[in-house]
Assembly symmetry: C2
Homo-oligomer: 430 residues x 2
């Protein structure tokens, strides 16, 4: 099935907003085994919209149009859809009723110009929007089925997943159920994970499991798309493959599906009724900012301390009789972790100290990251060297610190060689 996407709106065309709806839709379709062949972006302009609809109707089997369903005069999608299909606009009484109820529920009167949103091309199939006043609709134009969706991301997402994708799959004659399984890892590059997972798809020999990746440094998402007749069939097919992926990626899998690294860390700390003290330098509060604001963070994050000159810790953490000036050492990092835990009065302390290179911010600019985690029982330590510019080092250090804490909490080895670090014999051992 040949699918196209048409994004409409002056704000997208002029670059006032970045078009994240396009990549979102395209990715969601890929996740269920469908592919987008062509993307078009046009403004709120009658002539361009009509030309875009006509061209797509000649090339594609299915077209998703995004935007232009609002109540204002520059929202033209219904009007031009009717024109392209050679039909009139007619009032959809059902949607008018739904909209009026929408406003009534919010104790408001529906403004008259919202009525426009219930005017659909004759013969169009209404597509429900449970979270807004812009209904979607489907309509044949030329040889293609067009699906019109709202530009508001939250509304688009609901409609695409619940309404449009099932219709596309039905048209494509695909099996009824498609499921996406995701694994989030840190520390292994895409090509490395790809080679580690060689052959896993073949564990389900009928080809209904497809492996894919999405890299967004410092994390990598490994995706398994599974097709089946129903969810039982999908689970049966997924089981041997996901077991093998978990085995091969092992401790590097830090979260699955909708989980996040910080969410996993927070959940485990909450489960252990543990409190946390944090000490950061060059990451400057970014580690605390990943955890602290989450619901439940208020019960876990006891205190986070950021300094750029570590001698400032003498006073804040009441460290006496131990010099914090000079070269960073393992002993010093561990001492700071113990002091943070004790002085702040937390169950655990995570300390991430960074010895940043001197010189210009280039691709070979790096930093050495010194990490210690202290509990009442022991102190774990890890040292790593990351190259790639200031921002690369900062992002990597935030992720490495949080991942070490996850490993520590799950009683996994804190030290496992990652692809992003530069090792020499001493640094590799930490």
């Amino acid at each position: 099935m040949r699918i196209e996407i048409i994004c409409t709106g002056d704000e997208v065309l002029t670059g006032k907003i970045v078009n994240t709806n396009f990549s979102y839709m395209s990715q969601k379709l890929e996740d269920v085994g469908l592919s987008v062949h062509w993307g078009t972006t046009v403004g709120d302009d009658r002539q361009s919209l009509l030309a875009a609809f006509r061209l797509a109707s000649q090339r594609a089997d299915a077209v998703i149009v995004n935007g232009g369903l609002g109540p204002t005069i520059d929202d033209l999608s219904q009007e031009i859809a009717a024109q392209a299909a050679g039909v009139e606009l007619v009032l959809n009484e059902d949607w008018l009723t739904t909209m009026e109820a929408f406003f009534t529920k919010r104790s408001r009167i529906m403004p008259p110009n919202n009525r426009k949103q219930a005017m659909l091309p004759a013969g169009a199939e209404l597509i429900d929007n449970p979270v807004g006043t812009a209904c979607g609709f489907a309509l044949d134009i030329g040889q293609a089925r067009f699906f019109f969706t709202p530009g508001v991301p939250r509304e688009l997402r609901r409609m695409l997943e619940e309404q449009v994708i099932p219709r596309l799959l039905a048209r494509g004659g695909s099996p009824a159920t498609i499921f996406l399984k995701r694994f989030h890892s840190y520390g292994l590059g895409e090509s490395h994970v790809d080679s580690l997972l060689t052959g896993v798809e073949a564990l389900e020999p009928d080809g209904s499991v497809k492996l894919g990746f999405r890299a967004h440094y410092p994390q990598l998402e490994t995706k398994l798309t599974v097709r089946g007749t129903d969810m039982d069939d999908v689970r049966r097919k997924l089981e041997p493959v996901q077991t093998e992926v978990r085995k091969r990626l092992g401790n590097f899998i830090m979260a699955e599906d909708d989980q996040t690294l910080e969410g996993v860390v927070l959940a485990e700390l909450t489960r252990q009724v543990a409190t946390l003290a944090l000490v950061e330098t060059f990451t400057s509060g970014q580690i605390a900012a990943r955890i602290g604001h989450l619901p439940g963070g208020e019960h876990v994050l006891r205190c986070g301390v950021t300094v750029r000159d570590r001698t400032a810790l003498h006073k804040v953490l009441d460290i006496k009789g131990f010099a914090l000036a000079g070269e960073l050492t393992q002993e010093m990092t561990e001492e700071v972790a113990r002091a943070a835990r004790t002085h702040i009065g937390a169950g655990l302390a995570l300390v991430v100290l960074i010895d940043l290179d001197e010189g210009p911010d280039r691709i070979d600019f790096g930093g050495t990251i010194w990490i210690a985690i202290a509990s009442a029982e022991d102190v774990a330590f890890r040292r790593s060297r990351i190259l790639g510019g200031r921002e690369w080092v900062r992002l990597g250090a935030v992720e490495l610190g949080l991942d070490c804490l996850r490993r520590y909490l799950h009683r996994l080895p804190v030290m496992e060689r990652i692809d992003f670090e530069k090792t020499d014999d001493t640094a590799a051992q930490g």
Copy 2:
């Protein structure tokens, strides 16, 4: 002049990466008074590329193609450009020499497949790439002038600004010089600023100054695009308009052009040889993270402290004889600021405490933000209430805190009513 953009590449088409190049290009063109009329996205596929080039060549006067200039076999732009123009690919000796020098300078031998990057359609005009091995080129296809640019954002940016835009302006017969003046503000919404600036364009009566906006909560960018015969002419035309904009937006302008709020704050702290202590709660280190990692931040940020339960400050800031439990008050906020300054040993302390609503994260979820700034001389205070969900409150509080510090450092009133805050009589006064 009718301009189109064609973005190529499977990673963009499948949504693996968000297409920020498109919005970047479109915006840069808008900034110099040019408009994009149509955008096309296609994958690394011969048939689609050829069809996209041909369609654009029939509609547009100028087309910018992005991507597909790399050394690998799925980089097809030169090949399909030649096919669409009906010419052969020929080796550009100049670019081959440039590439070889590029590798020699990095003490590397040029891999054989990079030679492909010097194969250009016959008759193409070479466009220099000072930062990579993918040269750009320009070529007529049909009635349109095509400009081929690399997909790597850093390389695209240099080439677009230094090479492509001047050529487009020359083709469009525009005045030789276009200048973009930008003002960054926080606290006033786009429609409010628009109404405050009514008529400023007319201060330059020949219509060569155009006003525009770009909103990205919590900041707003106000843009003046000025056309002139040369930079002297531009400066003369801009002067009365920018003076008026500065007058009308007043203290709300926190940065201009490439400046950032955090950069302005850091520069002023550096100029005053001042050090800073920070105390945050729900913003969880995000304020520190805006300043601490910047070059020079190491001399200014003495210590940042994040707590979610403010009673933890008793120990960390050595606050005795003053209760931190219970309702937040102005007195308590100011006391924390004084204690942070003294105990951390900094010249200034910024304290941003947040009293977050209870309940689900909805559009009417809010927080009350209590801000104090202490110096050796005095303490400034500001209270504000922001509604709009957890993330909206968090982002707003980070910006408000930093902006209060900017105002304090520049001896401006810390309290000026902003559009994002909900006021009642007491809260408005702080």
